[in-house]
Amino acid sequence: MGEAAIELAGVHKEFAVHGERVQAVRRLDLTVAQGEFFSLLGPSGCGKTTTMRMIAGFEEPTGGTVRLDGQDVTGVAPHKRDVNMVFQSYALFPHLTAYENVAFGLERKRVARGEIRKRVGEMLDIVSLTGMDKRAPRELSGGQQQRVALARALVNRPRALLLDEPLGALDLKLRQQMQTELKRIQREVGITFVYVTHDQGEALTMSDRIAVMRAGAIEQLGPPRAIYERPVTRFVAGFIGTSNIIDGTVERVDDGVAVLTYGPGERVLVPTTAAAGTALEVSVRPEKIDLSREQPAGTGCSMLSGVVKDVVYHGTSTNYTVTTAAGPDLVVFDQNARDAEDLAGPGDRVHLTWSPQHSYPIGVS
């Protein structure tokens, strides 16, 4: 990855709500690389939108520095910042046509008429809106409006494009289609994208890196795979996908693998350097767990037995909830690759196994 497109150094933001000071963003340090697809992911109220609005200039940080391409822009008005934003509501100008909407930014920069026509035309082609230029926003479908909003921002070739939950208003099918489309466009134009979302699936699908935010601070930052497979806190494990959290105490450590036991033959193996006697929280993803009705022969695996409490059929997979000796019920996703009569039903005794590398010790949060 190249040099930094966006840098936030010690940025924090306080709001006064009913006379009380509320910390929206706490001392955030963040670097987004040139050309990166970067997501800010978190539940509502976690400070992700405020962070984005500070990059755009709509909010001034209470403290800290915002840099674009190495230049300090803290305190610079939004219309003088070389970033563009796609708003959650699209914010298309209703009194202008699609063409005029897209041309708005270039006109402000006093780009020559012919040049504007050329660039707007190209951009409408890129977002697959060829021939729609004379339409008013209200004559366009939700997905088309979304594309106009995207084109209107991208046509200015900003240093970074900021997207605030841009797919939130679209239905599921269109949303999935636009995810692929957004990624394609981003690769095509090579502009840095900062993407704000509360949808973990969206973030996992599109991002190069994700910052998971909670209560105004970054909880974990990394590529989607790392965030999903190795959540460092209980919050991240719970927020991204479904996760099983098992509590236990390290009994002994064999070759860098800690053993937690819950009865005869009931054990969880975790690769960790924690010493014997340490209390641990272990995260296991539901799809990593193997469920079978026969006692497995495997050694060197985590093994728990339990009783099926609930079975939910999902088409491509079946979700089981299993009560074991290891504490809270465990969730298991099983691909529907086997024959129907093999399926376990509620009340059946089953055996769960998974490899040690699929258990992750998580920090206490």
Partner: protein
């Protein structure tokens, strides 16, 4: 159901009868001064609409004052309405209250107070003082209409304009103003309508100036000429025309 229909027609009649009478008596072939009994149909008053110099002069003065106060109240009221709808500032609550206070205070009291103010300030009464008075009471109407529109305006539209490089000034003229224009327009029409037929406040602030309503008031004692009905009809028709054009354009959007 039948009751409802009867009720509807009653309301329609209630609203239109006075107007019908006004229009009809503009076509009355009355011989004398009193245009109060029907004496047959004629179009001659339309030919002689500007035959009475005093009345014509009064009409022009009224139109001029109405136009001036419409423009002034429009510009000032739009500014106030925008500020009240968009920003919360020190004293915005007080301004809000003032708007409704001027709309609800009795015209007689307002007129008398304005007279006191002008006299004690040594300002000579005339078209200027009438215009000042009219702007004063119509400004709130414009502000209230514009404020309501600004409140429904998606704030992110202005942010989007700023994001695309528009200065606050450009943002206002290229995005905000076109979107609140219908409200500005109806506020200004309201200001015009309030001004052209105002009698009470005008009577206090006119001095020797005679406006259209003041002339009519003076003439009622010696009988109203049919020209008044003709002028009333013409003003009414212009109003209808503006309303029709407005609603057609609104439907097309």
């Amino acid at each position: 159901m039948r009751l409802l229909r009867a009720y509807t027609w009653l309301v329609v009649a209630w609203l239109t009868l006075p107007i019908v009478v006004m229009i009809a008596f503009g076509f009355n072939d009355t011989p004398g001064r009193y245009n109060q009994t029907w004496d047959g149909f004629t179009l001659k008053w339309y030919g002689r609409v500007f035959a009475l110099d005093d009345l014509t002069r009064a009409l022009w003065i009224s139109l001029g004052i109405a136009l001036a106060s419409m423009l002034l109240a429009g510009a000032l009221g739009t500014g106030i309405g925008y500020a009240l709808g968009r920003f919360r500032f020190r004293g915005s609550g007080v301004v809000n209250l003032l708007m409704f206070a001027t709309m609800s205070s009795p015209e007689l009291v307002m007129g008398a107070s304005l007279l006191t103010l002008f006299v004690s300030a040594g300002v000579g009464l005339g078209p200027v003082t009438i215009t000042i008075a009219h702007v004063m009471f119509s400004i709130s109407f414009v502000a209230v209409v514009v404020r309501a529109r600004v409140l429904t305006l998606d704030r992110s539209l202005e942010e989007a304009a700023a994001d695309l490089g528009a200065s606050p000034w450009t943002t206002f003229w290229r995005v905000t103003f076109p979107l609140i224009l219908p409200a500005v327009g109806s506020g200004m029409l309201l200001a015009f309508a309030l001004s052209i037929d105002d009698f009470v406040v005008t009577n206090f602030t006119a001095g020797t100036t005679t406006t259209f309503p003041l002339w009519i008031w003076g003439a009622t004692r010696i009988g109203l000429p049919p020209q008044v009905n003709v002028m009333g009809t013409l003003i009414f028709l212009v109003g209808v025309l503006i309303a029709v054009v407005g609603s057609v354009r609104a439907r097309r959007q």
